[in-house]
């Protein structure tokens, strides 16, 4: 989706060019290669792995995280991190559950709107007040979770199954679950914005060097604010959809999802230092995480903690490979 043209200088290196291109491709497309490999092994090991039902389960499992990851990709490429997304998801779910009886479309509109507004606040503090993104979104992580718990009275709020709203979590369009359709649209739009618009170019420029981007006269502050607003809005939407899926707004939902989202983005080949990455890589990262989860569920003998171990190990492996490839590229 976001094939960036190779540096003209790097291809002029004679005999090293092919190696360099191989390493670059590995870094950017490694996640997709690993995903294909894992799926192939899984398909050979488990008979029903490739069944339509199981595949849909895998994608559905990753759909809610996927929405968050689209926003997170923008934020991380711009050189920041949004730690508040897990709490935003919880807040979005709670708002949806509380407004659905009043007028059900509100449950779909208000969560992304309000969470987007909070994201806008994050962006303002980061871009205008020049506060560290880490601190601002960490405060968001704590404060928004507190807000969600307080609003919900620390208990999940049930959503009436008869409401048209639950269709957005449980319904289907042409046999495909609605959340999947929505997340696919989000990835396509996100990928196009990142790769084909000037806004996307500015995101890459800021991540590469904020100082240079500013000196070039690019709208650095505005771009960053939009990135954090998008991230918040998508997290709120994910919360609303998840609430529709499970027929409840859970103020404890999305706990530590910010870490999963960061893992997915980094595994997908986006550098945490910003300036490089792709939406397709992030998509592969999300799918990889849910395939691993699915495999561990299928094995059955391993507890839920095995998944944490595998995720942690995976993250380290990817980071080590990235560090190795980066060193090779420099030689």
């Amino acid at each position: 989706m976001t094939t960036r043209p190779a540096d003209p200088e790097s291809t002029a290196g004679g005999g090293f060019a092919w190696r360099e291109r191989l390493f670059t491709t590995l870094q950017r497309r490694g996640a997709i290669a690993v995903l294909i490999l894992v799926v192939a092994i899984a398909a050979l090991t488990f008979d029903n792995f490739l069944s339509a039902q199981n595949l849909q389960n895998i994608v559905l499992q990753g759909a809610f995280l996927g929405l968050i990851v689209v926003g997170m990709t923008f934020v991380i490429i711009s050189g920041g991190i949004d730690l508040s997304v897990g709490s935003m998801l919880a807040l979005g779910g709670v708002i949806a559950a509380q407004t659905v009886q009043v007028f059900w479309p509100l449950a779909l509109i208000l969560p992304p709107l309000l969470c987007g507004l909070i994201g806008f606040g994050n962006g303002l503090l980061i871009a205008k007040a020049k506060m560290s993104f880490f601190i601002v979104t960490l405060a968001g992580l704590l404060g928004i979770r507190g807000l969600a718990l307080a609003l919900a009275g620390e208990r999940p709020i049930r959503i009436d199954g008869g409401s048209p709203f639950v269709w957005f979590g449980q319904g289907q369009i042409l046999g495909v679950a609605v959340p999947i359709v929505i997340v696919v649209v989000a990835f396509v739009v996100g990928g196009l914005v990142l790769a084909r618009t000037s806004y996307g170019r500015v995101i890459f420029a800021i991540g590469g060097s904020e100082e240079s981007a500013r000196l070039m006269g690019l709208p650095v502050d505005r771009t960053k604010i939009i990135a954090y607003t998008t991230s918040g809005a998508l997290a709120g939407l994910a919360g609303a959809l998840l609430a529709a899926r499970i027929s409840a707004g859970d103020p404890n939902g999305g706990l530590a999802w910010e870490l999963d989202a960061i893992s997915a983005v980094v595994v997908g080949g986006t550098l945490l230092t910003g300036g490089a990455g792709s939406m397709s890589g992030s998509l592969a990262g999300v799918l990889l995480l849910s395939v691993l989860q699915n495999l561990i569920n299928q094995l059955g003998t391993l507890g839920s903690y095995a998944q944490q171990l595998v995720s942690g190990f995976f993250l380290i492996a990817v980071v080590l490979v990235q560090a190795y490839l980066k060193r090779k590229q420099r030689l």
Partner: protein, 321 residues
């Protein structure tokens, strides 16, 4: 006279502002204590104060290590999972006596720190990612070693560490105070402390000055993990059972908050040990204030978030000036 007074006015004001900026956390703490003295019933009692100090001890231990990591312009997110690892390993080796068990646990902690430190110092992975991996994977590992269950601890030596007293002072508080003194000495009075600040201030300048940058970074993450392992032992001892799924959960957030509110900038180059201790006390006191006044605890979280933002916003002014 008059002119002298007017000329002195603004400068007085700016001294006051900068004093407040540097010691905002102390001021906030004093205000909160006064507030509690007025509204919280039985606040000025020995029980209340010891409870506060005992609860805050593991957070202080962990925060000291995180402060060191942040001082090098890094961060250590893995502390909570290292606590879980410590909790999982502790009962496994108690058969050989408590000193052996403690030693093994500290070794496991040191090993975790070596992994973090090597990734940061030698591979060049960003600290947030290197320690994120252990945060995610470490707890899973702890649960596998513990067989997914919580084991009771009956060894009197270990239990004393969590529940005992020496001259009326609770053992966890003694451990925390000793750790604070050692760390304050290490940071303010040793070459290692100078290196930490130098590496955090400007890594390449420090490297070019011939400082052992990599060794310093490695040591910082090992120390942080050792302190986390110690905190894990104390938390387990207090509970009287190992609990790898809950011990140290989300403590990295409290620790980072304590460090930042205490005046250590995330951009590195400065480590405030006493500020960190006050930051940890302040956060715990906020929580206790809400609990002891029967206020919904969740609003304490919101208030903590606001305090973080305000503290950092105020300190930013000083940093850029």
């Amino acid at each position: 006279m008059d002119r002298g007074a007017t000329a002195k006015g603004p400068s007085d004001l700016s001294t006051v502002t900068s004093w407040v900026r540097g010691r905002g956390v102390y001021l906030a703490f004093v205000v909160l204590v006064l507030f509690n003295l007025i509204i919280t019933p039985n606040f000025a009692s020995v029980v209340t104060v010891t409870t506060l100090l005992i609860t805050v001890s593991p957070i202080v231990l962990v925060s000291l290590g995180v402060a060191l990591a942040i001082g090098t312009e890094g961060i250590d997110l893995s502390v909570g999972s290292v606590m879980a690892l410590a909790s999982a390993f502790l009962p496994l080796y108690l058969g050989y006596g408590w000193p052996v068990a403690v030693l093994v646990v500290l070794l496991v902690g040191a090993l975790a720190g070596l992994v973090n430190g090597s990734l940061v110092a030698f591979v060049g992975v960003q600290p947030i990612i290197a320690t994120l991996a252990l945060l995610v994977g470490g707890r899973g590992l702890a649960q596998i070693f513990a067989g997914g269950q919580s084991l009771p601890i009956t060894d009197p030596g270990i239990l004393w560490l969590g529940q005992g007293r020496l001259f009326g002072v609770p053992a966890p508080v003694i451990v925390a105070v000793v750790a604070v003194i050692v760390m304050a000495f290490l940071v303010n009075r040793t070459t290692f402390g100078r290196y930490v600040v130098a590496v955090g201030g400007n890594r390449s300048a420090s490297y070019l000055s011939g400082h052992p940058v990599r060794r310093t970074l490695l040591a910082v993450y090992v120390i942080s993990a050792l302190l986390a392992a110690l905190a894990g032992i104390i938390a387990t001892a207090r509970l009287g059972a190992s609990d790898p799924s809950n011990i140290g959960l989300l403590i990295e957030l409290s620790a980072i908050t304590a460090v930042v509110v205490g005046g250590t900038p995330l951009s590195g180059g400065k480590v405030k040990i006493m500020g960190t201790v006050m930051g940890a006390l302040l956060i715990q006191l906020i929580t206790n204030t809400f609990i002891s006044n029967d206020l919904p605890f969740t609003w304490a979280q919101v208030l903590t978030a606001v305090i973080i933002l305000v503290a950092v916003y105020i300190q930013k002014g000083r940093g850029s000036a």
